[in-house]
């Protein structure tokens, strides 16, 4: 097997390794009504395989001081192996057994589903996580991106072990696999690991050009500013989410928009933080971010003002965004953002495991190979006018989803008095987390 050298990131100074194998299917392949199928399928591979019970498997991994995990995104399933280099073969062997001969034990399946059901309810104990769930629900609605990766109570109840058994082969199919290895091991180690873990493996050489950016459909901005209040008792502080869908990674304006939004709220010295935190002390943390993949982008603002400050903080944030969208950044903020993004790029690739992941993730998200190498030049090449235009074109202060986790009585009257709000919906903090879609196999 020939391995492109870029998938090997040497780190001879430390006797440890990180191996990531990416399979080209994720929760986006979950059947309708069965959200969480891919996640559960991945976890079931680690819950007993070959000669190992679940407990024996965990002990075997821990005995090596290693980790063997499977994570699922919307578009990929990733097998992560980490450990001491001298244990590489043993860790690889455990992973191979997990993927080749999972027990798919009924008792373990039931136990996993019970765990996930409890985890779903536990989300409510963390105001930030609760708000994020409500924000995704409000922003994405019935779009596949609104579907929880780990499932809902309803979808978990509908999942069966037969679904998992059938999905295992699809999820871990040997075609179009990508992999990268960081550490003190070489090409033979990676080739051997791939052959052992995925018999018949067919490595994909490049993702660029093979992604259908329309596969998940368009998510239109909903006109108006719509506020959802998640009413939770005993809160003196609020968790505030503001956002909207915007351009995906492959859009030609993406770099300019990233630069523009960094100048708005992506730095401590950007106007958003200066106005909210530095001048008024309203929120310890306040930021904006552009979170994009190959299919969809989301522009988001986060802050957590105390209850009495929530309405004025929201009003000021909306005004700042409106002004920014109309006028763009100042020369000074634009220059600082450009310098910040260009010069901080190195910190994403300054260790072997970071470089390994960024290379792989660049490929998985459909960006061209040179995207990583050209990052600094790309930011430096953006003219001021492009940043202004991208903000004007791709941010819309009149079409925003707002979620506030708070004790409603302490915030609602002030919210209702704010100008320009199209709707306010109050939902209980124990709101239904169900996936509304029907089962369709």
């Amino acid at each position: 097997m020939t391995i492109d050298p870029r998938w090997l990131v040497p780190d001879p100074a430390r006797p440890v390794f990180s191996l990531c194998i990416a399979f080209p299917r994720g929760s986006g392949t979950d059947l309708n009504g069965l959200a969480g199928l891919s996640y559960v399928t991945g976890q079931m591979a680690l819950r007993g395989a070959g000669p190992f019970s679940r407990k024996a498997f965990l002990e075997a991994v821990d005995r090596l001081g290693a980790s063997c995990d499977i994570s699922v995104s919307r578009h990929h399933t990733l097998l992560w192996l980490d450990g001491l280099s001298r244990h590489f073969d043993a860790v690889v062997e455990l992973a191979a057994v997990a993927l080749a001969t999972p027990h798919h034990d009924a008792g373990e399946f039931d136990k996993l589903v019970r765990e996930l059901d409890v985890e779903l309810d536990e989300v409510r104990d963390d105001d930030g996580a609760l708000g994020a769930r409500a924000f995704a629900r409000s922003l994405y609605g019935d779009h596949p991106y609104g579907r929880p990766l780990r499932g809902s109570h309803g979808s978990l109840a509908a999942l069966t072990l037969d679904h998992v058994k059938a999905h295992h082969g699809r999820l871990f199919a040997p075609a179009d696999v990508m992999a990268s290895l960081a550490g003190s091991l070489g090409q033979d180690a990676l080739a051997g690991a791939l052959t052992r873990i995925i018999p018949g493996v067919d490595l994909k050489t490049a993702m660029a050009g093979s992604i259908d950016a329309d596969a998940f459909g368009c998510l239109a901005k909903k006109p108006g500013i719509h506020v959802t209040v998640v009413d939770k008792p005993d809160r003196t502080q609020t968790q505030l989410f503001i956002g909207q869908p915007t351009i995906p990674l492959g859009h030609p304006d993406w770099t300019a928009l990233q630069l523009a939004q960094t100048a708005f709220g992506g730095m401590f010295t950007a106007p958003l933080s200066q106005e909210i935190r530095e001048k008024r002390g309203w929120s310890y943390s306040v930021w904006s971010a552009l979170q994009s993949d190959a299919w969809l982008g989301t522009f988001q603002i986060r802050l957590h003002p105390n209850a009495p400050d929530a309405a004025p903080a929201l009003q000021l944030t909306l005004e700042l965004l409106k002004n920014f969208q109309q006028q763009g950044p100042s020369d000074d903020d634009f220059g600082a953002a450009k310098s910040n993004l260009a010069r901080s790029h190195v910190f994403g690739i300054d260790t072997a495991s970071r470089l390994m992941w960024l290379r792989l993730n660049t490929e998985l998200s459909g960006r061209p190979r040179e995207w990583l190498d050209d990052a600094v030049a790309r930011y430096e090449a953006v003219p001021f006018e492009d940043a202004v235009r991208s903000a004007a074109q791709h941010l819309d202060p009149t079409a925003l989803t707002v979620v506030i986790v708070c004790t409603a009585a302490t915030v609602l009257p002030a919210l209702q008095a704010l100008p320009g709000i199209a709707s306010i919906e109050v939902i209980d903090w124990e709101f239904d987390l169900e996936d509304p879609t029907t089962i369709d196999e």
Binding site: G65, T269, P305, A336, L341, A342, F347, A352
Partner: protein, 473 residues
């Protein structure tokens, strides 16, 4: 063999000391030499310690300034002083207006922040190699020339109050931990929250900040750590020029009493709107840097440090009464706390779960770990050790913490040796000495009753708080 000063480095010091600034003559103190690397410690005449770890793997470097002052040094009635002051260090100096520090750092793309804990305050920046001079200028400037004013203090006070609410008052676990530590250390500042009680945060004055700065922020009380891609002579020259004119300052003596531990009959209880309750056990432990501390580190790993750990397998997997179990010993200079925490499933009986945990601890105390558990833990800690050395910032962090709490940056390697050497009998002895049932403070986080008066139970909760761990700007 004890590492010696290599001749080239001796030549460097000779050159730099030919005509040093008033307080800037540099002495070499000691070194740690490993396979393919070397870490050296120096000291300026004004007391400033400098630890350098050159590594040319990537064109980046971490610059850390550690001050030997943390929340244990907060003045009486002024808890939160060290932490609030840390925030003030990002404001103006006599030579730079407010905002210039952050804007300069952000324009460099630097990863910069600060952290305050019980024993120390650490200001850190990761920058590209060619920006180290700018960091040196900024850091030496704010060590010597901070300009404090009332308006800045009032604005930052509001930020810190908001931070406290985020970390403690609206964070159920934060409330419980704060109360637990107050009971564990009734007379010692370790029982006070690093972020401070709300009324103390409100009471801190500009004069308090100025006095705090004069007392604790001097080269005599600081350690500079630079890890990454640099030339040692260049960096030493930079530091000598930047800090060598600052005079040494005498530091106040410190005396603390821990107070007798009174174990309450009933658990410390906090209530909050949560689905899942939580049980916590906390004991006073030994100081960092000792074999006993290492043995308890191994013990906590075996109890809940990995997916196959005892308490996790029992409570999460077998009995399905918990969603998460954690155990750890904190690495403090004057004492430590050993903690076990269990996040309950909503339908679990807290008393029954507590009985299971305490029975498991009794078995552990009697029988100790198995050989297999010891092997798992050794390998896991070895992996963690190497992982922790990958990033220059993480390296500087570990060196700084070791140097300020244990008194020797080389404890980074000594600790790894101590952990490797822990035997079954060591674990049994340490658990027997420090984790007896009559020495434990128990805590419980309980969900609010259905239909309770949601806004009527706050008062005791808001005032009953913990010591949180680490606070950052």
């Amino acid at each position: 063999m004890k590492p010696l000063l290599p001749a080239p480095l001796g030549d460097v010091l000779s050159r730099l000391n030919a005509s040093p600034p008033a307080h800037g003559a540099i002495a070499w103190l000691d070194a740690h030499v490993g396979e393919g690397f070397r870490v050296d410690r120096f000291q300026l005449a004004n007391g400033l310690e400098v630890i350098l770890w050159p590594d040319h793997a990537a064109p980046v470097a971490a610059w850390h300034t550690w001050f030997r002052v943390g929340s244990r040094h907060d003045p009486v009635g002024r808890t939160g002083m060290a932490h609030l002051f840390e925030h003030m260090m990002f404001k103006a100096t006599t030579t730079r207006p407010e905002g210039e520090f952050d804007r300069t750092m952000e324009s460099l793309g630097a990863q910069t922040n600060a952290a305050t804990w019980v024993d120390w305050t650490n200001y850190h920046a990761k920058v590209t190699t060619w920006d180290l001079q700018i960091v040196c200028d900024l850091e030496s400037d704010r060590m010597a020339n901070l300009a404090l004013d009332k308006d800045m203090l009032e604005r930052e006070r509001e930020v810190v109050k908001n931070e406290r609410i985020m970390r403690v008052d609206d964070e159920p676990e934060g409330r419980l931990t704060e109360e637990l530590y107050r009971v564990l250390y009734p007379e010692h500042p370790y029982g006070q929250p690093t972020i401070g009680w709300m009324e103390d945060i409100a009471a801190i004055t500009l004069e308090d900040c100025q006095a705090f700065y004069r007392t604790w922020y001097s080269p005599s009380n600081a350690v500079l750590i630079v890890c990454g891609d640099f030339d040692s002579e260049t960096i030493l020259a930079m530091i000598q020029k930047g800090y060598g004119d600052l005079p040494a300052v005498s530091l106040p003596a410190e005396a603390h009493s821990y107070g007798a531990l009174t174990v309450p009959d009933e658990p410390v209880i906090a209530t909050a709107p949560v689905q899942a309750g939580r049980l916590v056990w906390a004991w006073r432990g030994p100081v960092s840097g000792t074999p006993e501390h290492a043995a308890l580190q191994v013990a906590t790993e075996i109890l809940a440090g990995s997916d196959s750990a005892r308490l996790i397998m029992t409570l999460v997997d077998d009995l399905e009464v918990a969603t998460d179990v954690s155990a750890w010993i904190n690495p403090w200079a004057l004492s430590s706390a050993v903690e076990i925490g269990v996040t309950l499933r909503p339908d679990a009986d807290p008393d029954a779960v507590a009985a299971v945990v305490e029975a498991a601890l009794a078995t552990f105390l009697a029988e100790g770990p198995t050989d297999d558990e010891l092997e798992r833990t050794r390998n896991s800690l070895e992996t963690d050790f190497w992982r922790g050395l990958a990033d220059v910032n993480a390296r500087a962090n570990q060196l700084g913490h070791a140097h300020v709490t244990v008194g020797d940056y080389r404890d980074l390697w000594s600790e790894a040796e101590r952990l490797r050497a822990v035997a079954k009998a060591d674990v049994i002895a340490a658990v027997a000495q420090y984790m007896q049932p009559d020495m434990v403070i128990r805590g419980r986080l309980e969900p609010l009753d259905d239909g309770s008066d949601d806004d009527g139970d706050d008062d005791d909760l808001d005032d009953d708080d913990d010591s949180d761990d680490e606070d950052e700007e």
